[in-house]
Structure formats: C-alpha cells, structure tokens
Symmetry: C2
Subunit: 336 residues, 2 copies
C-alpha cells in the first residue's frame, strides 16, 4: 500500500508510492496519444474501471456509449478507498495509510475538443458532476479535503490528451490549502471582514485587473499573481463551499468558465493550463469549526496558464517573477 509521510519541518504531507520507479523508468516526455488509442473515448467504456456516475442521454445504460460526461475511478490510484488511517510514528517521523479517493471526470466523449470549444451547456454538466461528487465524498468521515482540479496539456502535467479533470480526496488538509485558510482567518480576525469579499470590492473599485463579470461571478487577474495571465474566478455572494451553489449560480458559472476558456484559448492559442477549485475543507467531521469557516473563507477557482518553465528557484524560494503584469494581462483577456 502507498503511504503518506509528513515532513517534520514544513508540516507537508506527501504520498510515497509503494512500487518505486527505477532510474531507467523516467522516460523523456512522449507525444500526445491519438484518438484511436485513447481509453477515455466513447466506445472504450469496457476498458475503464466501472463508472461512478455520468450525465447520459435518454435511454443509454451505464458503462456503455451514450454519455455526455462521465466519472470513473483513477486507473492507478494514489489513494485507496478501503482501509483505516493507521496513523503512526516511525522514529522521529510520522506517517499514515494512503486512504482517500482519486477520480477522473471525462468532460466530453469527443477526444479533440479543447476547453474553449466545450460550450457553456457542457460546462454546466461538468460543474454539476463536480458538485455531485463532492457531496458524495464529503460523507466519508475519514476524508478531510476534496480537491477538484484540471491539468490540460502535457506541459501542465496532464496524463491524457482527452479533456478531463480530476478529484483527489485526502485524509489530510493539503499544506497549501491550510495556508490559505490560515491567511483568510488571520485577515478576518484583524478586520472582521472576509478577505475575498474585500478583494472583490477592491477589484471592482479600481477595475484595471477585472476581465469579465457575470451576474453571479467576477474574473480578474490577482494583484500579486505568480504566473503570467493567471486569473481567479470568485462568486460575488459570500459562501465557503463550492457544493452549496444554487442552480442559478451553477448555470452562471458554466457561462463564466466557458467564456474565460474561450478568451484564454484565443489570446494564447490553447495554452497548457491548470485550474484548481479552492473550496472549504469537509464540514461533517468538524461541525464545531463550521461557523468560523463559513465567515472567513470564500470559495474560488484559480486558473494558471503554463507559459514558461518555472525554475526550481521559484519553487524552492516561493519568490515568483512575473513577466506580464496583471493589469496588462487583464487588458489582453478583456479585449479577447
């Protein structure tokens, strides 16, 4: 079984795979797979693990063609659904079993579609699957956090060229998420206001980093962005958990996300990118923390095009150099 290990200095958990790769196994990056050999395509349902859920056309049956979007377990899961946490010490270090869930959301049966081409109706189906899976996984009391994210393009770490996103549910709150929660709590305790609500007000006031606004959402380039053309999508209403959005907010998010993907695809020619949904940790196991968390956190989506290789320096130091200012990036995206 894979295991989770904790870095005693940085309080960071990492997953160590039980079947180590040898030095010779690290190959040079391959080219993208073609449609004929893609296991995520329609018609290959028997070659994937059985589906967890799907949005299907009328009359189609599970694990057969006819789906519009589909969720399956990962082919090579990092985290295992079965078993207990088995927290224990090893000398001066700490570890636990690699309990959790890895799922793949296949965003469309059509292999060659880019995110810009998906359209807002399909985007709403994808968002509804995110919501459904979070609502199901948060019932598992062993799980602390459910992360929904997308790697698009090899340069952004994607394993498949077929449009897909991923879910990773972990028994620990990942370090970066914890830091964000702590930062939001610090601001709240100092100002008695949500930092994200303040950022929305400030961005709307100055306007030069705002890209696009819908009835329910705002998209803008963050003041201190790390990656050129990085942007953030935030709901205007204050609420901490993605899965608590209303039907109207879900439809509006489909509109926002598909518009932004079109803009990104237009100015940067469908660049490799990642997006991550930043939502609150699971509430059910820790109902007592609910009230504070509800006030000081505000869910949002971070979209990061990968235009330049980030050096180990930036990684190691946490000091980033941005070659296109957020004001200029917002201008290009706004006008696309």
């Amino acid at each position: 079984m894979h295991e989770l290990r904790k870095d005693p200095l940085m309080n960071r958990w990492v997953a160590v795979m039980s079947d180590s790769m040898a030095p010779g196994d690290y190959q040079l990056p391959e080219n993208g797979t073609t449609e004929t050999e893609c296991v995520l395509c329609s018609g290959r349902e028997k070659d994937t693990p059985p589906e967890i859920t799907a949005v299907r056309g009328y009359g189609s049956r599970p694990n057969e063609p006819g789906w519009l979007a589909r969720v399956i377990p990962s082919f090579r899961p990092i985290l295992n659904v079965e078993g207990d946490l088995g927290r224990r010490g090893v000398g001066m270090y700490d570890r636990m079993n690699s309990v959790g869930a890895n799922e793949i959301i296949i965003e469309t049966p059509e292999h060659g579609k880019t995110s810009a081409e998906l359209g807002f109706e399909q985007m709403i189906r994808i968002i509804s699957l995110y919501k459904e899976r979070i609502k199901d996984l948060e019932k598992d009391l062993r799980l602390r956090y459910i992360m929904v994210y997308k790697n698009s393009g090899k340069e952004a770490g994607a394993l498949y060229s077929h449009p897909h996103s991923q879910i990773l549910a972990t028994p620990v709150i990942p370090r970066r998420v914890k830091e964000e929660l702590d930062g939001a709590k610090r601001y709240y305790s100092y100002k008695d206001r949500c930092i994200f609500c303040d950022i929305i007000r400030e961005e709307l006031r100055t306007g030069d980093r705002v890209i696009y606004e819908t009835k329910k959402y705002i998209a803008f380039c963050p003041y201190a962005q790390r990656y050129s053309f990085e942007f953030c999508i935030m709901p205007k209403r204050h609420f901490c958990a993605f899965q608590e959005m209303t039907m109207e907010e879900m439809e509006d998010l489909g509109l926002m996300l598909s518009a932004m993907m079109k803009k990104l695809g237009a100015i940067l020619k469908n660049p490799p990118y990642n997006y991550i949904i930043h939502t609150a940790p699971n509430m059910i196991p820790r109902r007592d923390h609910w009230h504070t968390l509800g006030e000081d956190f505000h869910w949002h989506i971070e979209v990061m095009p990968k235009l330049e290789r980030v050096s180990g320096f930036e990684w190691g130091s946490g000091f980033y150099v941005v070659t296109t200012s957020p004001e200029d990036a917002a201008k290009y995206l706004r006008e696309a």
Copy 2:
C-alpha cells in the same frame, strides 16, 4: 522600475516586471545554445557586464580570458542595486521597489562541461565565490536574504546551457524560506533541539536513506521528499550561515558536492536539476534575532532532479506524489 507586490492572503512577495510581455512573446522552448554563440564562454568577456569578482590564473586581468570562474551582474536584472525600498500601500494592497541584486556565477570557462565533470577543485572555487559574494552582499542593510541557487538544463529553468549558478539578494525574506525558519523555530521551542541536528542523528541511526558521508557532511534522501531522487546535503557541525564555514569545511563540501553530482549524472544520465542553498537570513540588520536563529537553524543544500512534470495540482495544493521512495532512491545513488 520593476516592483515587488505582496499577496495579502498568502503573505507572498512577487516581482512584477515593468516591461510586460505580450501574449505573442511567449515562444515555444528553444533548443540549447551552442558554444559559438554562448556569451558566458571565455573570449566573450567584453559582451558581458563588467565582472564583480573572479578566480583567475596567474597574470590574467579582469574582463579578459584567463579566468577559472567568474561572477557578473545579471544581463536583465529583476532587482536593482540602486534606490530605496519605497514601501507603500496601493488600495488594500502593498508594494515596494524592486531593490536587490542578481548575479551570475560562471562556473567554468568550458561550455560543454557537465556538473559531474567539474571536479572537486573547481567545485571548491565555485563554493569560495558563493561565500565571497554572500559576505559582500550581506553588508547592504536594505537586503534581508541572499539566495544562491542553480538551474541546470532547460527543463529546470536554466537560461544558459553554459554551467552557471545564480545569486538573488532580496529586500524581503522569500516566503518558502520564512516557512522553513518558522518550522525550525517551532520544533526548537517544543524540543529545545535543532530539527536538522535531530534529522542527521535519525538518518545516521536508520541508515537506509543515507547516500554518502564525508568527514564534515552527510547526503541523504529526505523522509518526506517531494521529487524522486531529491537529496539533501547537511554539515554535521551545527551552524546557521553558509558563509561561516571553515576552510576545511569548504574543501570537504567541494568533495561532497562533486561526488554527488557524479552519482546523479551516472544513474540518471545528467538530468535537469536545481539546487538551492538554504542559509540563514542576513544577520547584520537584525542583530537582536541572531542568538535564537543561530541555535534553531542549520544551513543545508537541497538538490532536486527534475524527472517529471509537476502538475499544477501539486503546485497548487502542496500535496506531492513521489514515484520512487526515498529509501530506493538512496540505494540507487549509494551504489552509483
């Protein structure tokens, strides 16, 4: 002038360049430059900014051939040596001027040498230049941190194929460095012991992650490593600042670093990699913190081969997946 901006949520500073790149300027990665067009090679001294310091053969003159290793200012500096910090608020955000220093250490006049081929005598010259530059830069009271690092190979973010390392001196303590200092302080206040000294003892006790040991240093794969084949070099003696090593420790580090580079080059065929020297922040402007810092921090070098594309997910979440366990990686490196 470029500016430094602070992320209000994450307390992270980023450098925003004043001359924004347009979307069309982001090119696909180029191939490595060849020797004939390399500006860092011997004979091209007139095409670089005037050298800051160098290790030179007998009778050779500054900015002429005859050097063994050479330090120059960066061609396109992110931080400027002149000017004051100009700290100020902008709406709800914070910024300051981009004051600091960027330098390039040209590690050898020979373009085609790999790190594995430099040899320990040349490695000692390079280390002595690191030490000299840190000792000079720490006199500048505006500077809080001096980071010495190396990006080797395009995949690791290197801008030149000629062997070189870099120095970035910043008016803020980079976020990742601050977290490490905080982590070390937390451990010290709980245990009354240096966490790095404890880690050295634990690694020597179990032995299965130790790669190589010299009289003064130990090299090992960290228990909760983030990247496969990542390793750490630590001095056995407890001291917090790189530049305070003795002559004997400097020679021994040359031996250690050149041996480790040979091992890495042998098992992974000269992979792209980064190394970062983690040393204490500048002492001079904050002499009152000196005593604690001296006790709870312990300088070290982190070496990270870049074998796989790290996805935005790992980046964004701080949750890493390791495909070769540290115990197996140490075994391969030990036996190389």
